[in-house]
């Protein structure tokens, strides 16, 4: 069993290569027309994609069977299962290739593999006639492998390897429909913003590893009590940069809404359920170090408070269904970050799990809706509850979980988070102002979440159908199909994901604080009710008009993108042009100038060598005279 973590990582990794190399050869041992051969290649790719992921899911479940939900219940940590496969000498601190599953890794491994499996199955239908399905599914396999490496890694640098490969897969998959330049730009933006955070993350690893004398996570955590406060604050702040980048937190959140340019299953897997949760996971993994660095917790609390409310408001104003869900993801991840700042890693991980289930469900449902309508825009949807009954029911479950309506899973996990934040007000590690800001924003966000979820639900499924004659979709949008419901490969994962989205809240025993629960339900209903009232007034109009004059700023997400473009992107590009000019004129100019100077000097010498014999003889005589005079004088 100690080899299970390694196998779980390796299976999808090998599958990725097999999918890339083997399914790309349609002439491989099969007669028939090019079309049937391509279909055969796609079928092969689908098997390469689904089976290893399923095997990994079985292994991850096996690993999680023993500890169960022990991490959520706050039980004393059990012995990790795994082993070390050697060390890499670096000349300094070695890197140990350790893969192991402890209580935290075990449950996350299950989340990752099951969502990945659901997405792989769903994608078979969703990208049914996409010619690049083989590479697409291979990248998902590679991503699954990298995420499992992050989850099971016992060494910080090994973890970093998986961390970066996830970013690469995210880039490749956002840019899946690269014919459209906008998608390509979104992919580049996602990679660069997260990479900026990752540089800080790597330096944070350096600080922790060098002061602990080891990159092994267990050794680092054991040395935390001996580290100075300054070291810990520096390390955790640097790590926080990576967390903010990967988990799309303020101020590095801008890439996530644009990342919705990728295929919807990718949004479900990478940009909602798993990769973006990696930032939260890493804080929980190194939680003792963060708990010992109070200034970092304050910063985390402020980031979370701003992020959760701002993103929720932005979600309320979006017309694109996927962007609503993307901002909702930013907001929910900020909830988890807030829970961590308030001092509870188990509450944050609990919400991470339920969010992984219900947000993946919401995205897959949104995919089914978009598949049907042929557009991402809610202004072109409406009245879909009759044509898409299964999607309607499951997506309603997802929205209920998102807003925290009992008994859906989100209700319990959000309750645990709010309780933690409330307790931080009276006696926690946060400063009072930060704790107050965090709790206030969290409560406000509950209401806004109710509002935007209700709006999305009403505009998508209720009201009159707004059928618009659609042109042939451009690459980059979903494909229109004429069936009433999505194909079975898409519906089965949706229905199966609806079960944990509804019931996962009961995992690990129910701990409910009735006061907090009552407040949150009332706030949710309030937010939802206001939107419903506006919608009843005019079902055709957008209830987001409730925002009044703030609609514009909210829709543009408070102009952060424009600000970054003006402050960072354009100056860097201007600097780049300046460098090219300088290189040509100054640096290389000096080189060319030295060449010309030499030629000029030699030109002066050439004047003497003019071929006039009289001049040469005159020079000769003058020289002889000079030597004679010199000899006489100095002798």
């Amino acid at each position: 069993m100690t080899i299970f973590p390694l196998l779980a990582v390796l299976l999808p990794f090998v599958a990725a290569f097999a999918g890339l190399l083997l399914s790309r050869r349609p002439h491989f041992r099969s007669p028939g027309t090019p079309e049937t051969r391509r279909a055969a290649g796609r079928r092969r790719a689908a098997w390469f994609a689904v089976f290893p992921t399923a095997a990994s899911a079985v292994l991850a479940t096996w690993l999680a069977w023993g500890p169960g939900f022990a991490f959520l219940e706050g039980a004393s940590p059990g012995e990790p299962v795994g082993r070390t496969y050697g060390t890499i000498v670096t000349g300094g601190i070695p890197i140990s290739l350790t893969l192991q599953a402890d209580d935290l890794s075990a449950i996350l491994g299950v989340l990752v593999t099951f969502v990945a499996l659901a997405v792989q199955v769903y994608s078979v239908g969703y990208l049914h006639d996409d010619p690049r399905y083989p590479s697409y599914s291979a990248f998902i396999s590679l991503f699954t492998s990298a995420m499992l490496l992050v989850v099971y890694a016992g060494d910080l640098l090994v973890l970093y390897v998986g961390w970066e490969i996830m970013g690469l897969c995210s880039y490749l998959l956002i840019g899946h429909w690269w014919e459209d330049r906008a998608n390509s730009r979104a992919a580049v933006k996602a990679f660069l913003v997260t990479r900026l955070g990752d540089v800080g993350f790597l330096f944070g690893i350096f600080v922790l590893g060098v002061s602990a004398g080891s990159f092994r996570i267990a050794d680092v955590l054991a040395k935390v009590p001996e580290m100075s406060a300054g070291t810990l604050v520096a390390a955790t702040m640097l790590l926080l940069a990576g967390v903010a980048g990967k988990s799309a937190q303020v101020p590095l959140h801008t890439w996530l809404p644009d990342a919705m340019a990728g295929p919807t299953p990718i949004s479900a897997l990478i940009h909602a359920a798993t990769m973006v949760a990696a930032g939260i996971f890493i804080v929980a993994r190194l939680f003792p170090a963060f708990l010992a660095a109070r200034p970092t917790l304050d910063v985390l609390a402020v980031i979370a408070a701003l992020g959760m409310l701002g993103a929720a408001l932005a979600a309320l104003a979006q017309d694109d269904l996927k962007r609503v869900l993307a901002y909702s993801t930013v907001s929910q991840l900020a909830y988890m970050a807030g829970g961590l700042a308030a001092g509870s890693d188990s509450a944050a991980i609990f919400h991470l799990l339920t969010h992984g289930a219900f947000k993946a469900l919401l995205f897959l449902c949104a995919g089914a809706v978009i598949h049907h309508v042929g557009s991402n825009l809610m202004s072109q949807m409406g009245g879909l509850r009759r044509t898409l009954p299964v999607t309607f029911v499951t997506m309603t479950v997802g929205f209920a979980a998102l807003t925290g309506i009992p008994p859906a899973s989100g209700f319990f996990s959000k309750d645990a988070l709010l309780l933690t934040m409330e307790r931080a007000l009276t006696g926690g590690r946060l400063t009072d102002a930060a704790a107050l800001l965090l709790y206030g924003c969290a409560l406000a966000t509950v209401a806004v979440t109710g509002a935007y979820a209700t709006r999305a639900w009403l505009r998508t499924f209720l009201g009159e159908a707004r059928v618009v004659a659609l042109p042939e979709p451009e690459p980059g949008t979903a494909h229109v199909v004429d069936v009433r419901e999505a194909p079975r490969t898409m519906l089965v994962p949706i229905v199966l994901l609806a079960v944990p989205a509804l019931l996962l809240g009961f995992a690990g025993g129910v701990h409910l604080d009735l006061g907090v629960a009552a407040i949150s339900v009332v706030l949710t209903l309030l937010g939802g009710g206001v939107v419903y009232a506006f919608w009843r007034g005019d079902p055709a109009a957008d209830p987001a008009r409730v925002l009044g004059p703030f609609l514009g700023p909210c829709e543009r997400a408070f102009y952060v993108d424009g600000l970054y473009a003006a402050v960072f992107v354009r100056p860097v590009l201007a600097l780049a042009r300046l460098v090219v000019r300088t290189d040509d004129r100054v640096v290389d100019g000096a080189v060319r100038g030295s060449g010309r100077t030499m030629q000029g000097l030699s030109g002066m010498l050439r004047l003497v060598q003019n071929g006039n014999v009289q001049l040469y003889v005159t020079g000769l005589l003058a020289g002889v005279l000079l030597i004679v005079v010199g000899a006489v004088v100095f002798a």
Binding site: H27, T90, E179, V188, F203, A576, D588
Partner: protein, 560 residues
Amino acid sequence: MMGWLPVALLAVPLLGASLLLISPGSLRPVLRVYGLAFSGLTLALAVMLAATFDYAQAARPQFTVDQPWIPGLDLRFHLGVDGISLPLVVLTALLTFLCFAYLSWGDARGPGQLRASATGRPRALVFTLLVLEVGMIGTFLALDLLLFFVFFEIVLIPMYFLIAIWGGRGRRGAAIKFILYTLLGSVVMLLGLLLIWSQTGTLDIVALGQAHGAGMSRAVQILAFAAVGIGLAVKTPMWPLHTWLPDAHTEAPTVGSVLLAGVLLKMGTYGFARIAIPVLPEGAVAIAPWLGALAVVGIVYGSLACLAQRDLKRMIAYSSVGHMGFVLLGFATLTTVGINGALFANVAHGLITGLLFFLAGAIKERYGTADMPSLGGGMLATLPHLGAVLTFAAIASLGIPGLAGFWGEMLSLLGAFQPAEALPRGLFLVFMVIGGLGAVLTAAYFLVMLSRVTHGLPARTVPSLVATHPGPAEEPPASAAGLGPDGPGAGAEAAGERPEASETEPFVPEATIEGMRDIRGYELVAWVPLIVLILVFGLWPKLLLSLTTPAVQTLLGALS
């Protein structure tokens, strides 16, 4: 024991080159196989060297040969291999072999392809490349200062001819700049080497390394380090001594660019690990902060220059300035970790940038230009396999873990986080942060390049080099309009001979529109070994690190 192996490594290509001189006419029909055979034999010897190398004693020179050569000058023919030079020797033999494979099986379109016997001067090309190989391998084998210098200089001449004869349109200027600039650097280096000799009375690198600078005062060491360092820095190249590189790379033929980036730049950095740091430890400590500063300036400067570059080959050339910045930063830390990182980045850069230049050459050959706006995007649609390999190489170059580019950069930065005791730590922390930001910029320009070249829809009808009826009317539009600086030259040379369009393979992807062919068999032969090695070193860095670590610990003996 086995002392004949290093000698054979030099003798085989030298024999190949001299046979070409002796009997020019009779070898003409077998010329394509000829270069391949000799470089293949050299590669086999290099692999044998790696196989019989005693990995438990990677720190000390093995397979040593030590014969007096010119006793009056105290010059000895002293060769040997240790953990630092072994990877570079194998890399050199491999890249040369792959270059021959690329040239021998290719069709006649590219300049200097061996089948283009009328225009390409194939015999001279084979001769030049074999002489180049002798010089390159000799540099990595030499254990005598003067011998090192001789091999270091031998390399310049064939490379000069490679650029000046088979290069692009501006080849003359680029070649003259290359040779004058690097010769000037070498003269300064020679002065430094002579200074060492005059102070210690020996030219033996092994003895000098074991002495750890004994017999030289601090001032002498600083002076010698500066002189030797400048000579090596020109070759590396270090900012601001880099301006010969973009011109040379842009004008050089594909194999010239590959060997220039893959091996020649490594000779500069290798000199730091072999001579400058172990022989002159005190000088190294004094100059390391300056070296580190210029290195990180080079990282950021090179990346920014790439960001605003239009020409693909020029961009890859500037990316070398940035990557070599990481290598120099690793050396400047004077720690085992940092120098390990530098050596790793060295080899990784050779593989990755070699591949990138192969790709740039293939693109230029197909499109008739390497000007990115003229390429017009959509390569993943028109040439899916070429676009995919380009994506792979760019991603490897920007330092994704799991591929070779990552470990060297990461270890260099880790070294800068904790530099040697004698160095100012705060300063190196600043270097580390700047280097980290440079890594982000590196990612930026590679992704922007991929976005411009591989993504999007093919905007214009690409010029077809495979024409049904050859003639001047078939000049690519880009070069006819004078858009690309290199377009007309390449187009004119490509117009010499054109292959038949009817030549088919069993499976031709339907996306090869406009007659452009996706990756060809001979290209695959040349590229696949590089791709595999990039993956292997990326996934299993221990392979290289366990080889260099003991050697680096020995050479840093005086500092730790």
